[in-house]
Symmetry: C2
Amino acid sequence: MVDKRLHILEIAEQLFAEKGFEGTSVRDIANTANVNLAMISYYFGSKEKLFNALIEWRASATHDVLNELMIDETLEPFEKMEKLVNLYVDRITTNSRFHCIMTTHLPTIQSEGIKNRMTDVKYHTMESIRKIITEGQKKGVFRKVDIELTVASIMGTIIHVTSSRPLYYRVYGIEQDNPEAYGKKMAPKLKAHLRQLLQAHLAV
Amino acid sequence: MVDKRLHILEIAEQLFAEKGFEGTSVRDIANTANVNLAMISYYFGSKEKLFNALIEWRASATHDVLNELMIDETLEPFEKMEKLVNLYVDRITTNSRFHCIMTTHLPTIQSEGIKNRMTDVKYHTMESIRKIITEGQKKGVFRKVDIELTVASIMGTIIHVTSSRPLYYRVYGIEQDNPEAYGKKMAPKLKAHLRQLLQAHLAV
DNA sequence: GTTTAATTTAAACAAATGTTTAAATTTGCA
DNA sequence: TGCAAATTTAAACATTTGTTTAAATTAAAC
């Protein structure tokens, strides 16, 4: 039953995002997912391999969507950049649990294999944005900027908003709700802010 | 011997940053710090109270430096903003371990008390930047922007660079070194990038 | 120097951890 | 239906976890 495997992955994602890899026990996952403890070893082999499976499952999806955008030759640099930013805002806000794991837990991952795989995924994003910026510079619509740090500003802004939820709850005076509702509220604001920021930053 | 207390705090900070709160055992801290296991309970009471002491110890220092800048009435908005950004770049890059804990581990902290205290510290920064921006808008040198998300871009950029070290190692093709050397290398780049970014973003 | 308090130690505690086992149950197919 | 493979279960495994204990050592005060 492949559904059960997926269900375990979803529950694991939620718990890893909330409490971290080390902070989440296999029993915790099994109980929350309503499966027997041994099923996790049965399906995935170990807790670490379960984490690996989670990364692969989610990362491949983002990878495909990003590639689809990148091969589009009809878009002008500013359009392409805006579409990419909107894509990431949507993916990170609607899928905040996974991206929380990808960003906040990367430094603490002990396994070098997992760490490298997570870095691969981020590197691919970095290269896509670099391609758009250099293309725009060639066409003379973007000015000279530090590309790596421009990527840091884009990703950093989105991630800061999603990972500092307790802060923004207080800033906006809203009571705590689930990440999905928060993401829905913040996504349009983020898109507008980043569009304006990048327009000012990149326009010649 | 107050030195030993401080030594334990420094070691704990290093290990928490590397492996997270849950990923670090009290024995790990004791062994690395070369103190007896029971000394941690003796000095701090518990692992959680040790974490609390760590937050208080580091946060108060940043708080004081920030306040000193904020009361300076002689600075123009752009100067003040640049000084604040430089201050945070320096603090976060030279003190990356603590800020790694503050940002990447905030979402996974289970204790509400610690979570609130960490949010307090961030809120104070948010309010300081807000003050500078509204002041600049009153004086007519800053345009209308989303203040909260501008803060997100500033802090997010710095934090992304410090917390995605494995990514930037690969991007810049440098072999892994310690966080301090990396911070020293990135700090000037970060300051220049953020100055240019904020100039473009904020100038009328 | 004696005594009182503060520090340090090794050992033990119960609880929680990731993983494995071997038996029981269900499923799919001949 | 019969049977082999896949799934599910409860129990146990050995470690590791945070914390406590009570004795030993050191430091400070009189």
